[in-house]
C-alpha cells in the first residue's frame, strides 16, 4: 500500500452524489470523490463502508460492494454504488466513505472466457467485473438468480457488456449452472461468483468438479454483516484449507477467496 493510499484509507473521503439512476429495487448511485487515490487500484469485489454517527440513532455502519470506479480528465474520479431504492439517495448528498477495502476479483491474465454467477443484490461485484472483463477481451457470460424479477441487478448494464445473460429462479440455478458449464459456447476457463454462501458452495463444487478456476466473493451483505471492516467477526466463515477446517474473516482476508475454500473436500 503506498503512503497516499494508506492515508486516504485511514481518513475516509467525502463523496458527493452526482447522479442517481433507478434500476429495479436498487439505485445506481454515482459519487464524485476528491482524487484518483485510493480508488485507482480498486477492483470489483472490494467493499466500501459508510460510517454512521451513532448520535443519530443507528449504531452500525453501512457496508456496500464497490460497483464501479471511473476516472476521466473532465469529471474526475467517480465511484459507483448500488444502494437500495428504499434509501432514497438524493443527488447532492454527501457521504463519508472508507474504502476500497478487502481483496477484490483479479481478472485473468489472458483473454479467456468467464462465467459470472450471482444472486439478487449479492451480484453487485459482477456488474463491474463484467465491464473489466470486456475491457480485457474476455468473453463474459452471466447467470443470475433471483426470487423476484425486480431483484435482478441492473440488467441493461449487464447485457451491454456480457456476451450472454441468463436469468433463473434460485431453485433452478444448479441446473442452469450445469448447462452453462457444459455449453461449448460458454466453456468458461474461470468462474466468478457473488451470492449468499450456500449458493457459492454449490457453484464452487460444480465448477471445481469440471476443473475450472473458481473465485468467489464470500460475503453476504444481506446476511449477518455488522461492521464490514474486520473488527466484529459477524461474517466469520468456516472454510477448508489444506484439507482442514478453519475460520476466515471475509471482511479482513477476503472477501474474494478461492472457490476451493468453500467446498468440503476439494477435488484433486
Amino acid at each position: 500500500m503506498n503512503a497516499e493510499r494508506g492515508a486516504l484509507l485511514r481518513t475516509g473521503v467525502e463523496a458527493v452524489v452526482t447522479a442517481v439512476r433507478p434500476a429495479g429495487a436498487f439505485d445506481v448511485v454515482s459519487l464524485q470523490v476528491p482524487g484518483p487515490s485510493p480508488w485507482a487500484g480498486a477492483r470489483p469485489g472490494q467493499l466500501v463502508v459508510v460510517p454512521v454517527d451513532p448520535r443519530c440513532g443507528s449504531v452500525l455502519a453501512q457496508v456496500h460492494w464497490l460497483a464501479g470506479v471511473h476516472d476521466d480528465p473532465v469529471h474526475g474520479t467517480g465511484v459507483v454504488l448500488l444502494l437500495p431504492a428504499t434509501r432514497e439517495t438524493q443527488a447532492g448528498e454527501v457521504l463519508r466513505v472508507l474504502g476500497p477495502l478487502g481483496r477484490g476479483f483479479a481478472p485473468p491474465a489472458q483473454p479467456v472466457p468467464a462465467l459470472l454467477v450471482g444472486h439478487e443484490g449479492g451480484a453487485v461485484p459482477l456488474r463491474w467485473l463484467v465491464e473489466v472483463l470486456r475491457e480485457r477481451g474476455c468473453p463474459a457470460h452471466v447467470l443470475l438468480s433471483a426470487s423476484d424479477p425486480e431483484l435482478h441487478l441492473d440488467l441493461v448494464h449487464l447485457r451491454r457488456h456480457a456476451r450472454s445473460v441468463v436469468l433463473t429462479l434460485p431453485e433452478d440455478l444448479p441446473a442452469a449452472l450445469e448447462r452453462a458449464l457444459g455449453d461449448p459456447g460458454v466453456d468458461p476457463a474461470v468462474v466468478y461468483a457473488a451470492a449468499p454462501i450456500p449458493v457459492l458452495r454449490t457453484v464452487a463444487a460444480a465448477a471445481l468438479r469440471r476443473g475450472r478456476v473458481v473465485r468467489v466473493a464470500a460475503l453476504d451483505l444481506a446476511g449477518p454483516v455488522v461492521c464490514g471492516t474486520g473488527l466484529c467477526g459477524a461474517c466469520d466463515l468456516e472454510v477448508t484449507l489444506d484439507r482442514s477446517t478453519t475460520v476466515v474473516r471475509p471482511c479482513l482476508e477476503g472477501p474474494v477467496v478461492p472457490g476451493e475454500w468453500l467446498v468440503e473436500a476439494p477435488p484433486r
Binding site: G6, A7, L9, R10, T11, G12, V13, E14, P51, V52, D53, P54, R55, G57, S58, V59, L60, A61, R96, L98, L101, P224, V226, C227, T229, G230, L231, C232, G233, A234, C235, D236, T246, V247, R249, C251, L252
Partner: protein, 287 residues
Amino acid sequence: MTTTSDRQGLPRVWLGPGAVSDPRALARFGDLAGVPLVAGPVAAGARRRRTGRTVVHGLGVGGVDHQDARAVGVGAAEELLGWATARGLSVCVALRGESPEDLASVLDRLRRSSVGSAVAAVEVDLRTADDQQVLRSMARVREAAPRGQLLLARLSIVAPDLVARARAAVAGGAGAVVVSAQVPLGPGRWWSGPSTAALCLSGLRELRAAAAEQRWPGAPLVAAGGVHDAASALAAVDAGACAVQLGTALWADPLLLWAVRSALEPGRPAHAPHPHTRGGPRPPEST
C-alpha cells in the same frame, strides 16, 4: 505523540474485548501505537482461534442487543501477541473464567509462552461477579501474573454495590477498574451502544464520590460504555475516567479510535471542542 495518561501512566484509549475481536483489522486504518490491542476474551479450555460469529439479536435507537463474544483459546492470544510484538505494539489480554483457577491457568500458560512478555495488561471480566468473587478472582490473578503486571477489573455498573466490588478489586490487586455500562438482557446477552453513556457516567461519578469519601481506595477508571465520539470521551474524563474503552462504537466508525485518541491527548483542555469530534476526516498520524 504520547497517548499515555499524564496522571496514572495508563493508556488513554483501550479496545473492548469481544467488540474488537481482531484488532489487526484496525491496523489498516492507522497507527496503533499507544493503544493496547485486545486479545480475547481468553478462557481456559477454549480452543477456538477466533471468537466466532458475533451474534446481533437486534438493533435499537442508540444501541445493539448482542450475544457476548465466545472465548478463544490461549493459542489465539499467543498469535496476536506475536503479531503485536513484531510491530512494537502492546496487548491487553482479556480473561474470562468460571473460577479463579481458570483465570490463573490462562496466565500460567501465557507466562511460559515465548511471547508472554508482550502482555502489557490483563483485564479480568467480572461483570457478573459479586464482591467476594471479585476479591478471590483478582487475588488469584495477581498471584499468577508477573510482578508489576497491570491488572484491570471489568465491573458492571448494573450489578448491586459497585463500590464494594471496586474495593474488592483493588484489594485483590487490580490497578484499574473498567466501568462497564453494558446492560444485561439475559444470560450472555447485553445491550451496548451510545445509549449507555448516561449509565457509564453515573458509575464513574459514584466511584469518584466514593473515593473522595474514602469508601474505597480509588484506582484509575476506564469508561466502557457509551463512548461514541470525542465529546462523549471527554465527558467520561470529566466524570472521573482516566481512559476510555471503545467497543461497538468502532463498528459504526473505526476511525473513531483516532478521533478519540487525539481528543484525549495530554495537554488538550478538557472542555475544548475537538475539531474532529465526528464526521470530518482528520489527517492521520504517520505510521
